[in-house]
Amino acid sequence: MENQNQQGVVEIVSEKIWKFFSSVKLAVVLLIILAVVSVIGTVIQQNQAPEDYLREYSPATVQLFETLGFFDLYHTWWFVLILLLFTANLTICTLERFPTAWKVMRAPLKPLEEAGYKAAPFKQEISIKGGAEKAEAAVLKALQGKRYSSLVAKEQGATHLASQKGAYSRMGVYITHVSILMIFIGALIGSFFGFKGFLNLPENQVTSVVYLRNEPLWDKIMAGFGIGNSSVIYDPQVGVPSMPLGFYLRCDDFEVDYYQNAGRPTGMPSEYWSKLSVFDQQQQKVLDKRIRVNDPLTFHGITFYQSSYGTIPNAVGKIILNVRLKQSQGPGETVVVDPGSSVYVKSIDRTIRVTGFAPFGMRDQRTGMVQFYQSQNEELINPTVDLEILRGKTPVFRTQVMKVDSAEPMMPENYIISFVDYWGARYTGLQVTKDPGVWIVYTGFILLCVGPVIAFFGSHRKVWVRIQEGKGQAAVLVVGSSNRNRLAFEREFNSIAEEIAR
């Protein structure tokens, strides 16, 4: 007895909970709460440094906001709780209503009872010359013209037609709701089993790890319980958790293109890219790709996005020059030289000495002279070298060569020297993510595009017709109903009636 009683209580409570979560009123209330609470996080800038907050707010306010979690509002336990309530609400609302909608959608066509003809919202009576059969044909033609599927039943001297279209539109709302749930599930999988990290990888360097911004929650929880090992490495010397990639990534080259003004780079980047190579555990090259913003590289589920770049402070790179004979069409000879040193170029029997270097060179518009500039953060906007050309030990001439030049550099002899790259002093900034849930999210996105369109632009429309034989003419009663878009249905209904009468 006691046991039974307890079960009763559990049943009552769970029924109450179910009822609570199946209400649309709750959905509207939760939507209002979500909307209002979200505003707070847009007014207070999120995830700033503590000193930035102290500059904007008083210490007491900072303390209060900190406690309430307003500085990282969308990840606080209470915001997540609202989202979970919303998810529960959405799930239970859907489960509660779906079976009925499914039944209605699958229900076979049935002739209407007398009461149904009386209660239908749209009604028209038409009399047609000729017999009932002619009327039936006219009705079927009119309905087929509007893509209705029909069922004909004959009883007690009357012909009954039941027809419908757009039954599938009843699923639109469930497709929409399920798509939202899929997006939530995909996002959860992403944060449990994926990570977000970054890498500042210098040209000519290899890495086997990535530094993490968000570690996989699953690893964190498992390690917290002492079950299983987290793949995350905490090295106090680095200060940031890192994660082994399982392969090697090398930055072969990094390049920036700048928008040009009259042939001179402006310092505003138009495009930047990195050439990345992937090596497996045996140090064999597996693939390479030039990635740029909006075009990442993916390997073993880990994606590398081009996100930033910079010059390594005090680093000295290699100067790569190309020497080509003026009359030849060939590729010429490429030489590599350190700033301040010289290199012998066999094809022209000259020695090139680099006597000066600047990250940003520009030709003076009036004099045509090459000027050397320092750029902010030593950014290589247009690397430029000052060169001395020697035959043996005898200087022949001096010239300045820029990577991008608005004019021809001075080349008195029968060859041209061009600046290919200043290489090895820059790093590429990469965002690195692994998100195993993203495909579920994307499937959700597609369904979320489809669902509302079905729900809003489709409607389940039904038309019933009763044809009774009269004296030389048939009396046709047409009635109809639609679960939404009544005004549009009214137009269609009237045009069907017109079509029948014709």
């Binding site: 009123k25 996002a187 495009e271 913003v293 994307y442």
Partner: protein, 414 residues
């Protein structure tokens, strides 16, 4: 011929169409109505050609990009899509009554560009914006905004037609008293610094929201109160637009904007939040006058409109139709943005203010749709929710860029 000249012609055409639509209401002449429609078609055609030419010009300049990527272009495109959707509604519902409300919006947006001195240069794109997603994202989002804009215009007319009477004069007195209380508080808070200024505007927003929730929860039954809300919103919308216009003109004339300063730091400094008490008094006095004008003359406007506009049932349907088109488009806009962000940064959602506000807008219209489908609401309440939804749209589009900061940097004024 350059695209900028064509844009000017289009602006003039919209001005002419606006005058024609208003005269159509005033003189009840079918001929004027037809002329108004024709001028609108011509304006839209000119604008379409101008947009295409601007696209071609960008290629000739060696930049080569879709003309949808700064504030100027987005305002032009917003106007274009609003007029397009309006023409469809006019044709589908066979009524020209809404033209007198939609065309002014189109004309004022274009005129705002000139007044505000928004840069019309074709500037190069930063690498992150160089993506095919830019086109789809902006196109879909703005078509959605335009549909919501038309829904808003129709809802506001609906609310006006819905009014039996405006209620006793003390209702207006309540509105006036509210402004009288707001004025000194606003002035005091603005003098207390940047933060408090922000708190004031946010506080005002919350007050309006609470008022709106109160009205909707009561089923919007108290019509004179809804009318008061309507008058207050119209006053606020017109007043703030004009004040911002004055600000922008004033700042440009006096060149008091330092390099690195943004417009948002100086918003309303030549009107409501001016350092000169005289300016403040005049501004608030003008707002009081405007409010009285709207409140007192609204019913006369209603009488005039009532002869033209379709049945309330049809207006309710137009509003719903526009939201049923706008909401999937907004959804598509958010999704294309998310997919683009994921291909650029590896994160499809980062709670950036613009993203969050688009989601808030999405919530508001989701409430509209659920209230309609599941709770069976109709008419007045729905029109009020639609009005609030569009306020959220405006904030998502302009407010976020003017007031808040985030990833969508294109919208800056300078």
């Amino acid at each position: 011929m350059e695209s900028s000249q064509l844009f000017t012609f289009a602006t003039v055409a919209y001005l002419a169409a606006m005058v024609a639509y208003i005269s159509y209401l005033a003189f009840r002449s079918e001929g004027i109505g037809k002329a108004a429609s024709f001028i609108t078609y011509a304006g839209l055609a000119l604008q379409t050609v101008a947009l295409a030419m601007r696209w071609i010009e960008s290629y000739q300049m060696g930049i080569g990009r879709v003309p949808l990527s700064n504030l100027y272009e987005s305002l032009v495109f917003f106007t274009w899509s609003t007029v397009l959707i309006y023409i469809i509604v006019e044709w589908k519902y066979k009524t020209r009554a809404f033209g007198a409300f939609v065309l002014p919006v189109a004309f004022l947006s274009l005129a705002f560009i000139n007044f505000a001195g928004i840069s019309t240069d074709i500037s190069p794109l930063v690498p992150a914006l160089k993506s095919n997603w830019l086109f789809y994202h902006v196109l879909i989002s703005f078509l959605g905004y335009a549909a919501f804009g038309v829904a808003f215009a129709v809802s506001m007319i609906f609310l006006l037609i819905d009014m039996e009477d405006r209620g006793p004069v003390r209702n207006a007195g309540f509105g006036l008293a509210a402004i009288a209380v707001l004025a000194p508080i606003g002035y005091a808070m603005a003098s207390a610094g940047e933060r408090m200024k922000m708190v004031f505007w946010m506080g005002l927003g919350v007050l309006i929201l609470v008022w709106f929730l109160y009205l909707v929860m009561r089923g919007a039954q108290n019509k004179p109160q809804v009318y008061l809300f309507w008058a207050f919103c119209v006053t606020l919308a017109v007043g703030l637009m004009v004040a911002m216009g004055i600000d922008i003109v004033y700042l440009n004339l006096t060149h008091s904007l330092q390099p690195g300063d943004s417009m948002k730091q100086h918003l309303f400094e030549s009107s409501f939040l001016s350092k000169s008490v005289f300016n403040v008094l005049v501004s608030w006095a003008l707002i009081v006058g405007l409010f009285w004008l709207v409140w007192a003359k609204g019913m006369a406007l209603k009488k005039l409109l009532a002869q033209y506009v379709p049945k309330q049932e049809i207006m309710d349907d137009v509003t719903y139709r526009m939201i049923a088109i706008g909401w999937p488009l907004l959804t598509g806009g958010i999704i294309t943005g998310a997919v683009w962000a994921n291909s650029a940064w590896g994160t499809y959602w980062s709670w950036d203010p613009k993203e969050t506000w688009s989601l808030i807008t999405w919530f508001v219209y989701a409430i509209y749709l659920h209230a309609r489908y599941v709770r069976g609401w109709k008419g007045t309440q729905m029109a009020v929710i639609s009005a609030v939804g569009f306020l959220a749209v405006i904030f998502t589009y302009l407010g976020v860029n003017l007031v808040l900061s985030g990833l969508h940097s294109y919208g800056g004024m300078n």
